[in-house]
Chain length 335, copies 2
């Protein structure tokens, strides 16, 4: 795609309507007042705008597709979120195509390029690292996109996040009420919005007591194993850990089991996500759950029914509440 | 797409070369001997073949995409398989787009339509039900497709399956050697290739002793709960169950835990897939594992390097070996 070419979005901006309005007007599926029509037609002429040749697919109803870009399909949190979106997309007669980026910027850019070429109705973008500015620029070329789960700096699109701070708070509050004062935090990468928000909430729940140690890496089982080993090597008197994702928790549990460290007798643990059959483990693991179903539903609703004509819509953030499920992995050690 | 129009595949068949050869020749990226060129040019003329207008994307290197169609993203077996394919596709410089069908024929057809419109380099198709003939017909229109995990009747494409019969055999053999003679089978839908193959292998491993009872339904946690309740209600003296997927096993374990039925004291259990952290449960659950990494790698290799010029290639089946991991869920009850 040549850079100099003007996009549908440029036409929309100049005509002071939404890109969807321009698109529907140009493919003949939308009647508009005379003044709006004139504005759009003039913008098309002024910018020498030529609709993308693939655009006919859209007007023929062949697209009806939402593009979902996620970091990692094998992570059950993303997999379940994708399934929830799929089911809500289906209820709106939409298909969904998914691309996994393995958290690599080159693949994020390629995935966005493919989604753009296939002229999807909307984009749901999720990442687990801090992508370079090019990614935000590509996202901004879509007429409708939602950033889910994590921030992308520079993207002018609505955000849909779980309340990470509240999740950290619920974990910290539970640990504090059970007498824990010296704890560790094993979370995601330090430059992520979610990592910091969970840590802030954790300290707030602990009445201002920050973790003795904090560890951060990818939300992956292998990282969980590595960080658990480092934690055990460096551990002094910490009585509990808050782990920022089930993926990390699985790795932590594997190391604890291998070293015969008993939960909650020797150490208490609270996980985050609650998508990994934690209820069937012994002990069952206490965890903060994200509202996966609701995130999936809201992402689709925002794309299809959001107020895209409002230019401030791209700066909104919607926070969804999380819940704590107490099981058997936190020990009471006094007030 | 008008039905009467001839496809790239028709041209290839008439010219007696592969569709990829025609495609690369037509976009100028392949030099061919004079006789082959003449054959292709004549076939194009005879069939009045007009390349798909989207085809330029392919010749511009914009496609480089493999389409993956799976029944259920939330099922970790499919999610991990998708991740494995993603990583191998990346090694070949390919992107992958995934669509989940929720095992519905209408969505399978829509997913195939989208993949066809986006002119992917190849298709990997997985289903968990027996789709109607239209699905096979659509699959056959692709120049390169691989059926993974389960059969699609009528599709003339290579199959890549795990050795389900061997998996059943390993489970049956283990149970038999541990003295179990009266067992039950909780598997997938009865009309699936995999369900029958696992059952056959199970009986062979049990020295010809068929399960006292067989239950079948979707590979889903909710189905596992339902079938476990039915099994417990109808149970007489069965000492073990073989469960055809981890998804079903999770449901079974939930019901057993709720009714306080102890594994392996009261009943032994062997699962199939081994993707659900069974090693962290108490007791750790013995399971047959599919070679998820290898399936992912081979699917990509077959698409990109298979002998697609050989017309018999579409009838080949590749069986990948499975392995049994013994843990703590099978009790020895005598010879």
């Amino acid at each position: 795609m040549a850079k100099a070419r003007h996009s549908l979005k440029d036409v929309a901006r100049r005509a002071e309507v939404s890109a969807a309005t321009v698109s529907r007007f140009l493919n003949g599926s939308l009647d508009l007042p005379e003044t709006t029509r004139t504005r759009i037609e003039r913008a098309v002429r002024d910018l020498d705008y030529h609709p993308n040749p693939h655009a006919r697919r859209l007007s023929l109803g062949r697209s009806d597709t939402i593009a979902l870009v996620i970091p990692d399909i094998a992570n059950p949190f993303f997999a379940r979120l994708a399934a929830a979106m799929e089911s809500h997309a289906a209820q709106h007669g939409k298909m969904m195509t998914l691309q996994a980026t393995m958290n690599r910027s080159d693949r994020e850019l390629a995935a966005l390029e493919i989604a753009a070429t296939n002229l999807v109705d909307g984009l749901v973008f999720m990442t687990n690292h801090m992508p370079p500015p090019e990614v935000a620029q590509r996202i901004n070329r879509f007429s409708r996109a939602v950033l889910v789960d994590e921030d992308v700096r520079g993207a002018r699109m609505p955000r849909l996040l779980c309340d990470n701070e509240m999740g950290g708070f619920l974990a910290g509050d539970l640990l504090y009420r059970n007498g824990h004062r010296r704890i560790a935090y094993i979370g995601g990468r330090a430059d992520l919005l979610s990592t910091g928000a969970r840590l802030n909430g954790l300290s707030r729940g602990m009445m201002g007591i920050a973790p003795v140690r904090s560890y951060g890496d990818d939300h992956a089982t292998a990282s969980g194993r590595d960080l658990a080993r480092r934690f055990l090597d460096e551990r002094q008197d910490e009585t509990a850990i808050f782990v920022g994702s089930d993926e990390l928790t699985i790795g932590v549990l594997e190391v604890f089991r291998a070293r015969d460290i008993r939960i909650p007798d020797e150490i208490s643990i609270v996980s985050f996500d609650d998508v990994r059959s934690l209820h069937l483990m012994t002990p069952a693991i206490t965890a903060v759950a994200q509202p996966v179903e609701t995130i999936g539903r809201r992402a689709v609703e925002i794309l299809l029914k959001g107020d895209w004509d409002d230019s401030a819509f791209g700066t909104t953030t919607e926070l969804l509440p999380v819940t704590l499920t107490e099981r058997g992995s936190v020990r009471f050690i006094g007030q």
